[in-house]
Amino acid sequence: MKPFLKTTLAALFTAGLWSGSTSAQELLFWSKQAKPVEEAQAMRDKVLSGFEGDVDFQPNDSGPWLTRLQAETAAGSGKIAVLGALHGDFTTIADDLVDLSDIDLGDTAMNATFMALGMLGTDEQKYLPWMQATYVMAANKKALEHLPEGADVMALSYDQLIAWSKTMAEKTGSPKFGFPAGPKGLKHRFFQGYLYPSYTNSMVTKFASAEAETAWTVFKDLWAVTNPGSTGYSAMQEQLLSEEVWVAFDHTARLAGAFNERPDDFIAFPAPAGPTGRGFMPVVAGVAIPKTAPDMEGAKALVAYMTNPSTQIETLKATSFFPVVDVELPADMPPAVQTSGAAIAAMSGAADANPGLLPVGLGDLGGQFNQVYVDAFERIVLGGEDVRAVLDNQAEELRRIMNEANAPCWAPDAASEGPCPVE
């Protein structure tokens, strides 16, 4: 025992506790995406191994991710070479990012909408689009026999989804529809990009309209036949695999585990449609370079590498996030990519498709914007408060945020002059 301790202590002090950066010039890729162990591993082994230099890929929770970046910016020097995050994360730190418009993308045809999003309302290219995803529905094949008569699973309506969930609950004895309403669940995106566009053809302007009242009433009906454990769910792949639920809504990356593990047991299908179309929300992640990056040349080379068509395909395999450039997908894709890819194509290609974009121009008010929808959900659905009263109340908060951010409307709301109005 004692010799063990002594040798350890001796080793400790000779090991050079003060050693700072000792290893060779590695580019630090400070990412908020591709965090799950398997994805991080694939990013290192498959995606970044093809880059000419050494890359240290470090995925983080949003707290440490942002704090470290802020500290480096404030200190004026840093180690982070490249940032990887969602569009919404960059909106708060636009001032700390370098302009990427001088990067030569070669023949790569980048999605123009996403390139425009990457300017973050400035006249500089603050981030380059990196990858995209969206939210779809997933179902265990056992659930399909309970589909309402005449319903096509690839083109459901909200009423049919409710009827379906009700039948499943009655036939199996427990609610089989699951919704990611846990603390880390992405419920707010469902209300912003799916429920509202489907019922009001709006995300912001008609927040408190009569149509919105209907939308929340419909959602309450759905909630009545939803698994009550939903308030604890975050990534629905878990409950799908354990068969706690049979049908679920979630981000494609958070369903991928189920599709990959048991590809024959699950299907993916488009989100349901309401009176004003089939609302859905594309999600875009980007890569950017902070002003404090130690090796600007290397960082820019890495950012350009991430947008290569071949890198984009490897990224898709690693993370289940889809390319943002024009690229032909090879046939040997993992099951999750094939399954959700088909659902996404059906959803975005549907005649009644009604895409709702991620919030634009909110800056650091993005979190408060999401909170408006989460609060509405908690008060109306969980708290059972009066729909009209809650919407009027929350609309004031939404109006304040839009005015403070001075953000014009984005799709599906019609473009506005000045801040997006909340009627």
Partner: protein
């Protein structure tokens, strides 16, 4: 008809059973979660998600292998050990003198000091991390083992001070005075008489410091990059990982700490007055 003697015997038997039941419950309290963790680690992905689970896992090593080949995990483990030991040493070498002073001397602001020591735990780390990281980058402590150990020492210090304070208070001052009359100076008296008596307690509070450092994630994630500790390296990645890898990763995090506690258990038991030598 029961005699007085019979009643006593019955009570004895009852006490015996209560003792056994309590022991079983306490052991289960500790062992069942560890068993679940390890048996799920050694199961295949489909077994982890199925219910009911097989009693004996299939001894599948795929999950373990994933982490053994996980880029940087070994390095992170070594960093964790270094930080935890440095924290342990610093927390005791600063905390024990403070505890001794609190128990032996009267000085102005003694009570205020005791409260102030606790105050370091009143501010959440996410709040402190930003200014601290800026400072560390400026003075060159950023991304060093010693820098992170300093932060963890501040977290562990209140416990080190308060535990050692009660340790020293439990030893009569007369023992020290006797040593002085026999020719020891203050330092010698401390080293030859007091230290051997409090050593087990010191070891226990050192283990406490070790565990605090081992479990800390936020500061480690912000303040280190190349010298990332195991929890900072793994914990964030386990959050969204599939269930079977969560279990395997959990085992990876728990096992080294378990081994350490096992190695030093002698000192722990000694503190609670159980001879185990």
């Amino acid at each position: 008809m029961s005699t007085a003697g019979g009643r006593v015997a019955g009570n004895d038997r009852l006490a015996h059973w209560v003792f056994i039941a309590t022991t079983v419950v306490l052991c289960g309290w500790v062992l069942v979660p560890i068993w679940l963790l390890i048996s799920n680690t050694l199961s295949t992905a489909s077994e982890v998600n199925s219910f009911p689970k097989p009693v004996v896992p299939s001894l599948n090593t795929e999950n373990i292998q994933f982490f053994l080949t996980f880029h940087g995990a070994g390095n992170a483990l070594w960093n964790s050990i270094q930080v935890a030991f440095a924290t342990m040493i610093m927390a005791i070498s600063v905390g024990a003198p403070a505890g001794y002073a609190l128990s032996r001397f009267d000085f102005r602001g003694k009570n205020a000091f005791r409260v102030l020591v606790l105050m370091t735990r009143a501010f959440p780390l996410p709040l402190l991390a930003l200014p601290m990281a800026i400072l560390f980058i400026r003075v060159g402590l950023d991304d060093t083992v010693i820098g992170l150990a300093i932060v963890h020492t501040t977290l562990a210090l209140p416990f080190a001070v308060l535990i050692t304070f009660s340790l020293f208070s439990g030893i009569p001052i007369e023992l020290e005075e006797a040593a002085w009359t026999l020719g020891c100076n203050r330092l010698q008296a401390f080293r030859k008489v007091i230290l051997p008596l409090v050593l087990p307690g010191l070891a226990a509070s050192a283990i406490f410091a070790f565990v605090i450092s081992w479990n800390e994630v936020f500061a480690a994630a912000v303040l280190t990059i190349e010298h990332r500790t195991l929890p900072a390296f793994l914990l964030q990645s386990l959050d969204d990982a599939p269930l079977h890898l969560k279990f395997a990763g959990g085992t990876m995090l728990v096992l080294p700490a378990l081994i350490f506690i096992f190695l030093v258990r002698k000192y722990l038991f000694a503190m609670w007055g159980i001879a185990n030598r």
